[in-house]
């Protein structure tokens, strides 16, 4: 080992000690082992005082978004340090309380495309987890074919006048702001779209929650009627929003694919052992289900290895064309996992509410139903397959 490498290692060790101490001091013991994954899915649950305290502590430190620049409230850490932070959070059975669309999608996009004023104004609150953002992209007639969107933003000089309808606005009913794609030129398709930031409390914004098959309403239909949006909330140039939106969707895909790699949840094989039992050789006592669980867990492992490989290649300047693949495989894993869990639980995995089911069983049913969305939103599996075929494999069409 060279001297320089040695110094690096010492610095990392010191950083690790600092992180560990800080977590010990700030992470409320009551939250140990919990996470807010479910809240992110079903949404709208108010934070407990301890949760609120933890959010504030992490937010002030900037560690919710460890690699974002400190100048805008991020942690300013390097990749190595961020990895240490993640490891130490896991060791302490703590979680990162800063998340949502602001972190996953809007933040990186603003860092790349927004003006200095916009960054100063919008990024710090995201880092502190103070502002909830929602996405205003899809419209009833423009699902997979996003570029057909019709919600109008009329250029009135100082402001835009927005009229139209968005759908699948995630958490629209409890969001503070919305980032939206709107049509600013009706004579062109892709080149007539702009990227706007809209305050959800503006007069003329109305949200109607959509009830899903899982029973929850994490999405809304959002109606804009003569909503005035100040010109300063236009990100990038007028009519140049499509490129920004596409970039944001890339961030979305990369994040959404994470579903397959969530290690916090118990494995399906462990759940199945409990419900199905094992034979005298220690194998799951349902050979057919066992084979399918093995395939699933192998796929999940290959998926995690692939996600790591992609990250590694990207860091080394490789091209990350893999987001569509990861999105599709991630969705498949999430859905397989839910179906297999349900099957292992038998009738206990099919409860809706009330007596006779424990919390995990009821959650399994809801997650199973909710999970059907992951191959639809953020660009459906079919759309990703088109993207792979055309952009990566060069099989032009249409």
């Amino acid at each position: 080992m060279t001297a320089a490498m040695n110094d690096k290692q010492i610095a990392i060790d010191e950083f690790r000690a600092e992180v560990r101490g800080w977590i010990a001091q700030h992470f409320p013991a009551s939250l140990k082992g919990k996470n807010n994954a479910f809240a992110a899915i079903e949404g709208g649950v108010p934070l407990s005082p301890d949760q609120e305290e933890w959010r504030q502590a992490m937010g002030e430190k900037g560690w919710g978004v460890p690699t974002w620049p400190a100048a805008y409230g991020g942690g300013g850490l390097c990749g190595k340090q961020a990895a240490v932070l993640q490891e130490e959070l896991a060791n302490a059975e703590a979680y990162n309380p800063i998340g949502g669309m602001g972190v996953m999608m809007l933040g990186p996009t603003l860092l790349e495309f927004a003006s200095e004023e916009q960054k100063q104004r919008h990024i710090p609150p995201i880092c502190r987890g103070e502002i909830r953002w929602c996405q205003g992209f899809s419209e009833p007639g423009a699902g997979s074919d996003l570029a057909s969107l019709r919600a109008r933003a009329e250029d009135c000089g100082d402001y835009f006048l927005v009229n139209g309808q968005k759908t699948w606005t995630s958490g629209g009913q409890w969001s503070d702001w919305c980032f939206a794609l709107v049509r600013t030129d009706t004579s062109r398709k892709h080149e007539g779209i702009s990227f706007l930031l809209i305050d959800m409390r503006s007069p003329g914004v109305e949200v109607r929650p959509i009830q899903l098959i899982s029973g929850a309403s994490p999405f809304c239909e959002t109606f804009f009627t003569d909503v005035k949006v100040p010109r300063e909330n236009l990100v990038g140039e007028l009519n140049q929003g499509w490129a920004i939106g596409k970039r944001l969707l890339q961030h979305e895909r990369t994040n959404l694919s994470g579903g397959g790699g969530n290690r916090v949840m118990p494995s399906v094989s462990q759940i199945a052992k409990f419900y199905v039992g094992v034979d005298e050789q220690g194998r799951l006592d349902d050979p057919d289900l066992r084979q399918r669980i093995i395939r699933h867990e192998m796929l999940a492992r290959s998926f995690r290895l692939t996600a790591q490989r992609v990250m590694r290649d990207a860091k080394n300047g490789g091209v990350a064309t893999a987001s569509s693949i990861l999105k599709n495989v991630g969705a498949r894993i999430t859905q397989d996992r839910a179906e297999l869990t349900l099957e292992a639980m038998g009738m206990s995995g099919l409860g809706w509410e009330g007596d006779g089911f424990n919390e995990k069983e009821l959650a399994a049913t809801r997650l199973w139903l909710w999970g059907k969305a992951v191959s639809i939103y953020g660009g459906s599996t079919e759309i990703q397959n088109n993207v792979i075929a055309k952009r990566i494999l060069g099989m032009e069409g249409e």
């Binding site: 899903l212 057919d288 289900l289 099957e343 639980m345 009738m347 099919l350 639809i376």
Partner: protein, 373 residues
């Protein structure tokens, strides 16, 4: 397997019209959203109409007021009414309940109960499993001989239609092995706990606390194990027939949607990737139909390979409907995820029927064992 008779064709058409006109999916939605629905999981009014049309007595010999249409006839009706998700205890009552009396009951029991079943006044459920998964070989519920008859003790989990049944067919272990008992739900010691399932249909856990029954409660005309297998096969084939109706309808609804939905300035039915998926599903459903019809016919004519064909039908039905309901949601895109759309109903009901009386995994294993490998 015979070609449908003219009478069977009429029966099917009658069932189809009734389902479309009297019991569309909106009726099930109303039921689910109503207080009655939450409690009962079926519409009394619909079941009365079904009985009036003779369906409750479809397996019952004419001497007891039935129409003696046989299992294939019952299957036709079940398939049709399941297309629109009609919530009714028809399969368990007219199929399993009647079979229990015809196969295991004595003349007195038949005379006492069959006319009431035909009239739609008695609902029957099948209480076999004691855990969340199907294990008919793991029955621990005890039936011991007591003065003047039997005393039953134990628990039965997830009894479909168990909360609304007037009679429970209870599998219990005696010193001689497993036997099937005819247990009126009003008998002292029978305690029912509602289970609210994802499909919003009726389901209950049944507690049996020293339930005292007369000697003849044991259905004695057939050895217990054999009777239990026959009744389970009736339930499985009946469930498969319902699943066939659901798959057919889920396919039809999806196909219609693809033919109207536009994306990228084109009707999406024109996208070849979707065409090939639909072509594949179409083939799968045709295979499923063959398996289901063969199972129903085999039960009807009491064939040697009835159990084999029932396992083939149930396993095929589970896999095909599972695939079809997943594709139904996926091909509908976002709208299929909303409660407002019917896709979720098919999805939820499908999984309950999949889990009932042996899932695909159970029946694949059984099929192979029956084929000796």
């Amino acid at each position: 397997m015979a070609v449908l008779t003219e009478e069977q064709v009429m029966l099917r058409e009658m069932a189809s019209s009734w389902a479309v006109e009297q019991s569309p999916v909106t009726a099930f939605r109303r039921l689910r959203d109503s207080t009655e629905g939450l409690q009962r999981g079926f519409s009394k009014d619909h079941y009365r109409q079904m009985a009036e049309m003779g369906w409750a007595g479809i397996l019952v010999p004419e001497e007891y007021g039935g129409s003696s249409f046989g299992y294939l006839g019952l299957g036709l009706v079940l398939e049709q009414v399941a297309q629109t998700l009609t919530a009714s205890p028809l399969m368990l009552t007219a199929g399993v309940g009647v079979s229990a009396l015809m196969l295991g009951g004595n003349t007195h029991q038949r005379e006492q109960w069959l006319p009431a079943i035909v009239a739609g006044e008695v609902i029957v459920a099948l209480a076999v499993d004691e855990g969340s998964r199907h294990h008919p070989e793991r029955i621990e519920c005890q039936a011991s001989v007591c003065e003047g008859g039997w005393s039953l003790s134990g628990r039965k989990a997830f009894v479909l239609e168990g909360g609304i049944a007037d009679v429970l067919l209870v599998a219990a272990r005696t010193e001689q092995g497993v036997e099937v008992f005819w247990v009126p739900a009003v008998t002292e010691g029978v305690i029912r706990h509602d289970r609210h399932m994802a499909d919003s249909r009726n389901c209950a856990e049944i507690e049996l606390r020293q339930v005292v029954l007369p000697e003849e409660a044991r259905l004695a005309e057939l050895p217990g194990e054999q009777l239990l297998q026959r009744l389970l096969d009736c339930a499985r084939a009946g469930a498969a027939a319902e699943m066939l109706g659901m798959a057919t309808q889920a396919f039809a609804v999806t196909l219609d949607y693809l033919k109207t939905r536009e994306q990228f300035d084109e009707i999406i039915a024109r996208f070849q990737a979707l065409q090939h998926r639909m072509a594949n599903l179409y083939g799968e459903i045709e295979l499923m139909r063959s398996a289901v019809e063969a199972a129903l016919s085999a039960i009807e004519s009491d064939d040697d390979d009835a159990s084999l064909l029932v396992s083939l039908a149930k396993a095929t039905a589970c896999d095909t409907l599972n695939l079809m309901t997943r594709e139904m949601v996926q091909l509908h895109g976002g709208i299929g995820m909303t409660d407002e759309h019917d896709a979720g109903f098919y999805l939820k009901r499908a999984r309950v029927l999949e889990a009932a009386w042996g899932n695909a995994s159970f029946h694949r294993d059984r099929f192979a064992r029956l084929c000796d490998y």
